[in-house]
């Protein structure tokens, strides 16, 4: 993979030139937290942002969007908000989150709504130093070797810029003069030091090997009911999870009742109606069953299917759950450790 260097002082100039590809989006402060927002002014970008409230899935599977417009019995595809975009500032865990969504949405029965948005979007990664809620090293999602067009890695007063795709190469060429192609031994040392620093900062470290077996053997554990007694079933953990992808489909008629839209919106397996079928039978009526499904999907099912957990260790559930049920606490509990929940 090609690597270049960019002086930190040139970052804003480069971000400005990215706008010729499409809308530029990146993390900006929102209250005490951060969100991905359109960067009309590139100086608003929050380079210190660790985790945004919503993960970047919101660009590819928007919380609510129209799939079809219908008129009587005819359907017309809708790709309203698909436009070229550059997403700047995705941390490795979020890039891994997108790669997990890719497996889901681009493999069997490719989803054109996801694919078109994904294809129109350039991904620019940004390195980060973890805080006490990051656990990406445990999920092996703390570094990226692909899944991005460009990846910026902090290197003192410069960025080491990995070029990960042909589009990434085009993006560099938007303002090639800003980049330096000379990488020397000193840069390599700095990069290795930076990696050591990053790796040493993880406070949440879990050994996830054997997790499917542990979950299998904990199937009838009281743990699930104990967690369910506290869980509010609010679904916030799903909303903020980079790999949660469940959705509902709903038809919304206009006032004439002759036409309307078929829309898709986020759902969560924590919602009571999640597995309710016509006739009234609910396959997952108990909150404990739904919690178990959520964590089965993160820590067991995906490992069985793809050899890796579908948790990318971003820490958003830790930040978000109002009653402190999150992937770290559940792993601790499953491993028989004392938990705060």
């Amino acid at each position: 993979m090609k690597a270049l260097k960019l002086k930190k002082e040139d970052l804003y100039a480069y971000l400005e030139s990215l706008k010729s590809y499409g809308e530029l989006w990146g993390p900006v402060p929102r209250g005490e937290r951060y969100v991905y927002a359109r960067l009309t002014n590139v100086r608003e970008v929050a380079l210190q942002a660790l985790r945004t409230i919503l993960p970047p899935k919101k660009f590819f599977v928007p919380p609510r969007f129209n799939m079809f417009r219908y008129s009587e019995d005819r359907y017309t595809e809708v790709f309203d908000d698909v436009k070229p975009r550059v997403l700047f500032g995705l941390h490795p865990c979020d890039i891994h989150g997108l790669m997990i969504l890719d497996e889901l949405f681009l493999e069997r029965f490719p989803d054109p709504y996801y694919r078109k948005r994904r294809e129109a979007t350039a991904i620019i990664g940004l390195s980060c130093i973890p805080d006490d809620k990051c656990m990406a090293r445990s999920t092996n999602t703390h570094a990226v070797e692909g899944g991005f067009d460009l990846a910026f890695n902090e290197l003192g007063d410069e960025y080491l810029v990995w070029v990960g795709s042909s589009l990434g190469d085009d993006l560099v060429r938007l303002n090639l003069d800003l980049f330096n192609e000379e990488i020397d031994a000193q840069d390599l040392q700095k990069y290795l030091e930076w990696r050591r620093k990053r790796d040493s900062r993880y406070k949440l470290n879990f050994d996830l090997t054997g997790m499917p077996d542990i979950m299998e053997l904990s199937w009838d554990s009281d743990l699930w009911q104990e967690l369910a007694d506290k869980c509010l079933a609010c679904g916030a953990c799903s909303m903020v999870c980079p790999t949660c992808n469940c959705y509902n489909i709903r038809d919304v008629s206009d006032l004439s009742l002759e036409s309307g839209v078929r829309e898709r919106h986020w759902d969560s397996c924590m919602n009571k109606e999640y597995a309710l079928v016509a006739g009234g039978h609910n396959f997952r009526e108990a909150r404990a069953e739904r919690l178990k499904l959520y964590y089965t999907h993160k820590l067991k099912a995906f490992i069985t299917e793809y050899g890796k957990p579908s948790c990318v260790g971003c820490g958003r559930c830790i930040d978000t759950c109002p009653v402190n049920i999150n992937v770290a606490e559940v792993i601790r509990a499953l491993k028989g450790q004392e938990v705060k929940v």
């Binding site: 219908y70 359907y75 017309t76 069997r108 029965f109």
Partner: protein, 289 residues
């Protein structure tokens, strides 16, 4: 106005969520709340080439109402027409029952694994259905009848609450007359006292099964949840291996193609990896039934 150039009138679209236009050719009431629908793609060529497997399902789509999955009740061995057996039980079916002959509805699919016909060929077959469970298994039943020489001995047990509630009653009376299978019918209650066949639950019919080679048999069951435990116990008593006991399961589905998540069970999706599962799968995956 809709832009006609963007409408998939009948051809399968590159967009897997795009409903195909299909016409309701015939509908008739099987019981007071179960209706039989025959539909076919508006495009006749597509209608004749539409292929599927017994046990697969389709998503039926009503603009302004939504989509829901339905088992296919027809057999691919009789091409040109899709048949569904649908109980009026929810919002979408409530609307669907208002659709008359010649109406256009949206349908997409077929989806799901269907029955493993390639493994079932040459084997003895035992089909047990109760109530609306006939919907998916009628497809397999008719398929086997249309390919009778490819299968071994063939038993069908069909149970309903009352004679009036027995779905496809006349069809089963005719099937019962055939000499290339053993078909037994039973009802729990007979308010009319006119019922000429067995009275009692479907498991009462098992003693009538003679000459099955259990290790060489595929047994299938579909019916109300209460039935499974008792019928599966009978299958096991006969000595049919757990992986040759097949059942088709229901789950909430919004997509049919492994995206919306609702039918997830462990690491599988009912819509992609099911809806046909073996009893071994059920034991193995815990929250399947």
């Amino acid at each position: 106005m809709t832009d006609n150039s963007q409408i998939a009138a009948s051809a399968p679209s590159a967009n897997p969520f795009m409903p195909e236009q299909m016409r309701i050719v015939r509908r008739s009431d099987l019981t007071s709340d179960v209706r039989f629908f025959q539909v076919r793609p508006v495009d006749m060529e597509r209608a004749l080439s539409l292929d599927y497997k017994p046990g697969q399902f389709m998503m039926v789509s009503l603009a302004g109402v939504g989509e829901a999955p339905f088992s296919i009740s027809s057999t691919p061995s009789r091409p040109g027409m899709l048949e569904f057996c649908i109980r009026k039980v929810g919002r979408l079916t409530g609307e669907l029952f208002k659709y008359k002959e010649n109406s256009i509805i949206g349908v997409r699919g077929p989806y799901g694994n269907g029955f493993p016909l390639e493994k079932m060929i040459g084997k003895d077959i035992l089909i047990v259905v109760g109530g609306l469970g006939v919907a998916p298994l009628r497809s397999l039943l008719l398929y086997i009848l249309d390919n009778r020489d490819k299968f071994g001995k063939f038993y069908v047990l069909h149970g309903a609450r009352t004679p009036a509630e027995m779905l496809f009653r006349k069809e089963f009376f005719e099937i019962k007359e055939r000499d290339d299978l053993e078909c037994f019918l039973t009802v729990d209650n007979d308010p009319t006292s006119q019922w000429p066949f067995n009275k009692g639950v479907v498991t009462d019919l098992f003693p009538k099964i003679k000459e099955l080679d259990p290790g060489n048999t595929f047994a299938t069951i579909c019916g109300p949840p209460v039935m499974y435990k008792f019928v599966v116990a009978e299958f096991l008593k006969l000595g049919i291996p757990k992986h040759q006991i097949l059942m088709t399961l229901e789950r909430r589905m919004h997509c049919g193609i492994g995206k919306c998540g609702h039918c997830a069970i462990g690491s599988i999706y009912t819509c992609l990896d099911g809806p046909v599962f073996s009893y071994w799968d059920v034991l193995h995956m815990k929250d399947l039934i």
